[in-house]
């Protein structure tokens, strides 16, 4: 091969290597919160207590068992504006303070009735921030719980393709008469 051609091809290859990374058209971005959780461990624990107070374990698992608190956090981090994210943090901190003030102990040390009273206080609070906080957390808790695998498979019986037609079924003689 001609030496000139070889040199030209090498130059093209090098230029290509330099330029190619700039041509990456994929829109996938690293989700920030996987690298850096924006709720502190204690706030996350408190959020778990809150969702579990909203939907406690009975003969069915509670919201905490179904990791709904992680869903709430994920949704607020990835899908909500900064104001909602700040609202979640501030609301949790406010709840901490309220529990201390009203009952002299941490939220997770309170009895179920005391926790419900605290959350109801937020819901019916005169402060818009507290109302918004409760609305956000309750909405996402219900959404996360109802769309969890456990609930959809065992309670609401999800079918990807509903309305199966059974063309051939035995007929009970009693139902005919």
């Amino acid at each position: 091969m001609n030496r000139r051609v070889v040199i030209r091809n090498m130059a093209l290859a090098v230029t290509g290597l330099v330029l190619l990374p700039g041509c990456d058209l994929s829109t996938k971005k690293a989700v920030a919160h996987e690298l850096q959780p924006y709720l502190s461990p204690s706030q996350e624990g408190l959020l778990a207590q809150v969702v579990d107070t909203i939907i406690p374990a009975t003969d069915t698992p509670g919201a905490k068992d179904l990791n709904v608190h992680l869903f709430v956090q994920k949704m607020v981090t990835d899908c909500y504006e900064k104001e909602a994210q700040e609202n979640l943090v501030n609301g949790l901190e406010a709840l901490k303070t309220k529990a201390k003030k009203a009952h002299g102990k941490a939220f997770d040390a309170c009895s179920t009735a005391e926790r419900i009273a605290l959350l109801r206080g937020m819901e019916q609070s005169g402060e818009a921030m507290e109302q918004e906080f409760y609305k956000l957390v309750k909405g996402l808790t219900v959404q996360g719980y109802m769309s969890s695998e456990y609930v959809m498979m065992n309670l609401t019986h999800y079918e990807a393709v509903p309305g199966h037609y059974y063309g051939c079924v035995p007929v009970n003689s009693k139902t005919l008469s």
């Binding site: 994920k74 899908c79 909500y80 959404q143 996360g144």
Partner: protein
């Protein structure tokens, strides 16, 4: 002969322009070309191969991280298509 751009307007003028090659657009284009019209079909996004490019068809609702809601990043990067009802977590890979 030099390359003179004298036919550009003619070359870029069409009898019909179909926007979106969905079920209606695809058929419209087929009929238009079938009747001899010079047709341009505009479609957004990558070439979607049947079966191979439907990775979310059998995904269960709970398997979508955001339960089919668009993330803020996706919405900000795609402000117009994000308004479409058919654009959600299960279909955003068609971009």
């Amino acid at each position: 002969m030099a390359n003179l751009a004298i036919d550009a307007v003619k070359g870029m003028t069409y009898d019909a322009i179909v926007i979106g090659s969905g079920i209606s657009g695809g058929w419209a284009a087929k009929e238009l070309t079938g009747h001899g019209l010079k047709t341009l079909v505009l479609e957004r996004g990558k070439d979607v191969k049947h079966i191979k490019d439907y990775p979310t068809t059998t995904t269960n609702p709970w398997e979508f991280e955001h339960r089919n809601q668009l993330t803020l990043d996706v919405k900000k990067d795609n402000p117009i298509i994000s308004k479409c009802y058919a654009f959600y977590e299960g279909t955003e890979h068609f971009l």
